[in-house]
Amino acid sequence: MNQRTIIVQRDVLADQKADAAVERKRLGRRGTLVINLLSSPGAGKTTLLEATARHFAGRRSMAVLVGDLETDRDAQRLAPLVPVAQLTTGGACHLELPLVQRGLKALGDPVVDFLFIENVGNLVCPASHDLGEHLRVVLISTTEGDDKPGKYPKMFRTSQAMVITKLDLLPHVPFSVDTVTEDALRIQPELKVLTNCALDGSGISRWCDFLEQQHQQRLAMYHEPAGNR
């Protein structure tokens, strides 16, 4: 009997990460900013996307891939506003790249300014899966409690922006915007913090301005200087 040990030293998700990097580049080069939206169930992802679609209507093009365990309810809500494909995971708690690619194909691989991926409502597992996004945004609603960042550190660590939603409910719930912001910044000091209220739409123009600015900043690296192609 011959026994030998092969040293590997490889990330178990290396293949997925490499595939995601290829997709990120492909979409970035044609001017699409991909945004992965994450939150616990019901924090207001679809509501934010509805408002975003109304704000961008006629100005910027967008498409949505929306992930849920079952049903196409979220896609039905968004369908009157934007091209949307529902991704049902059939029980899986997060999206993975092949599902996203299938959804994109179902939409005809559209060239848009913004491609939103609404992930499955879950603050844990989606954090570990790169979907080829340029920007990861975590939503937290005022009804969830302001102690969440520390409890789900990976989600907040891997995000570049946090949107605090349901601001209209602040008078009714023990939730401090300062506390949640402090907790999140401890984990991700470079996090951009925004607020939103779906009832009166306050926050939407700031959110969309932020997206425009991210579109410029994060896709700049894909524009090769002229004469260097």
Binding site: M1, V8, V12, L13, D15, E96, C125, I187
Partner: protein, 123 residues
């Protein structure tokens, strides 16, 4: 759920390695999981115990080591261990730090038993 999908990826990687090495029986798989990998060690062990025998023999062992998260400051190059998910440089207070280790699940090594010695070296 998530642990199972990680174990599935792990087993696939090990299969490829064993095939590239000319086959054999997998005796041990060493894995490192960081505190920021999103993996609960007990659940990972359970998923492995459940799924590995179908791919390799039931004698295949998993050695799972949990490693701390370490980072380097982008401003002053200070290297430090992340305690309590505090990602600010303790020396210069910069918020831009890069994680060096601890945010992934890593296949470290695979130990393979084969009946024949390779290349006929020993006998």
């Amino acid at each position: 759920m998530h642990e199972r999908s990680l174990v599935q990826n792990l087993l696939r990687q090990v299969e490829q390695i064993v095939a590239a090495e000319g086959g054999g029986q997998v005796a041990e798989i060493c894995v490192q999981a960081g505190d920021l990998s999103g993996v609960e060690p007990l659940l990972f062990q359970m998923a492995f115990a459940d799924m590995a025998p179908a791919v390799f023999s039931s004698s295949c062992q998993l050695a799972l080591e949990v490693v701390p998260v370490t980072a380097v400051c982008s401003q002053c190059d200070h290297r430090f261990e992340i305690v309590d998910f505090q990602f600010r440089c303790p020396v210069c207070q910069a918020g831009s730090v890069q994680v060096l280790q601890g945010d992934e699940v890593k296949l470290i090594s695979v130990t393979i038993n084969s009946k024949h010695s390779i290349e006929g070296v020993a006998s």
